[in-house]
């Protein structure tokens, strides 16, 4: 029968680490990734040698990103795989690390998300299936169209959508790893400049670089490695889905 993570061996988050998100700089992806992984190991209180598998989520850095980062922690020969899943690369890497532990293949697994800006085009643009808009609909216009539809359907005003950016920037101001560190007012968000539809600059995510790392472990590993059980967070779910039908074909009159 089909199982979910909840039905399998329990998985715990035992350590996390980040490298600050920032405008593109000379910092290499190795430094970004290592900073996050070393912080996660420190947070968990374990050595890199205890890690039995690694998944690196990245979109734009290049082929085989894991080993050029992780070899500097002492090459231990563990299996590594790169997960490219567009905006969901990091969370998909996390899911695979969880599945590794839940299935019993690994006791300790590492998930990394790391990226730097680069020009790389999506595979969907290379299918020879040409629509009427092509490259003129970039992600922010895709989301502006969805926002327009949502606002119309539920009677939501642009100010209410903009309030989400106020909340996000307020959270960012309290997070030393956030790229945007300044709280903003609703008036500042609404003042623009306009980007697409009702979305203004402060409602669109900044382009930048950074990294995050998560270490997940089994209950056995927590005991064996003497990890602080009171800080371990149990993973109840980690799910990936895709659209059942292309968004543009969903409507039937």
């Amino acid at each position: 029968m089909k199982k979910t993570i909840r039905d399998m061996r329990p998985v715990y988050v035992v350590g996390i680490g980040l490298h600050k998100y920032q405008h593109m700089s000379d910092t290499t992806f190795v430094t970004l990734g290592l900073t996050a992984v070393r912080e996660a190991l420190r947070d968990a209180g374990i050595e890199y040698g205890a890690v039995e598998s690694a998944y690196t989520g990245t979109g734009l850095i290049g082929l085989a990103v894991s080993r050029p980062i992780l070899r500097h922690l002492g090459a231990s020969g563990i299996p590594m795989a790169q997960v490219e899943n567009a905006s969901a690369s990091g969370s998909t890497a996390f899911r695979h690390a969880c599945l590794d532990v839940a299935s019993g293949v690994s006791d300790v697994s590492l998930a990394i998300g790391v990226d730097k800006p680069a020009m790389l085009s999506a595979a969907a643009g290379k299918t020879n299936i040409r629509d009427l808009v092509g490259a003129r609909v970039v992600p922010f216009t895709h989301f502006a169209l969805l926002a327009n539809e949502y606002m119309n359907r539920y009677g939501v005003k642009p100010e209410q959508v903009a309030a989400v950016a106020v909340k996000n920037n307020r959270n960012g101001a309290r997070n030393p790893y956030a790229q945007r560190q300044k709280a903003v007012t609703l008036e500042e968000v609404m003042a623009g400049p306009s980007i697409s539809g009702s979305l203004t600059r402060l409602q669109c995510c900044p382009v930048g670089e950074g990294a995050a790392a998560v270490i997940v472990a089994s209950a056995d590993a927590i005991t064996k490695l003497g990890i602080d059980r009171s800080r371990a967070v149990k993973v109840i779910a980690s799910v990936t889905r895709t659209a059942r039908l292309s968004r543009r074909q969903e409507f039937r009159c």
């Binding site: 009427l132 609909v137 922010f140 074909q249 969903e250 409507f251 009159c253």
Partner: protein
């Protein structure tokens, strides 16, 4: 009924390409959502310049298509407006020949 045609197989049922057949669309429908693009980089410099407006139009024939609208801004535009397709001159190709592009325009009340 799909647009653009799914040349590699059907997204509904997985039917093979040779089981699909071309069908003509009337090019009329209803505006489902729209967004005026204010920031756009066209590296060639010959393409469409901002501002322009993108619309999602649910065609009477079934499919919903995203298209450039003829009006550059969303002034006077409302979700639910009846729309129709038009061919619009859109510059010239490398050999100097006129290019036309399929865009959508709001139908006037009389139509």
């Amino acid at each position: 009924v799909f647009f653009p045609p799914p040349a590699y197989g059907c997204e509904f049922c997985g039917a093979l390409p040779d089981q699909l057949e071309p069908t003509a669309l009337a090019g009329v429908g209803k505006l489902h959502s729209f967004a005026t693009v204010h920031l756009h980089q066209d590296r060639s410099g010959k393409g469409l310049q901002a501002p322009f407006t993108v619309g999602l139009i649910v065609l009477d024939d079934g499919p919903a298509v995203r298209a450039i609208l003829t009006a550059p801004t969303d002034e006077g535009l409302r979700i639910g407006d009846r729309m129709h397709s038009v061919l619009v001159p859109a510059g010239a190709n490398d050999e100097g020949k006129q290019i036309v592009e399929l865009r959508f325009a709001k139908m006037e009340a009389a139509q």
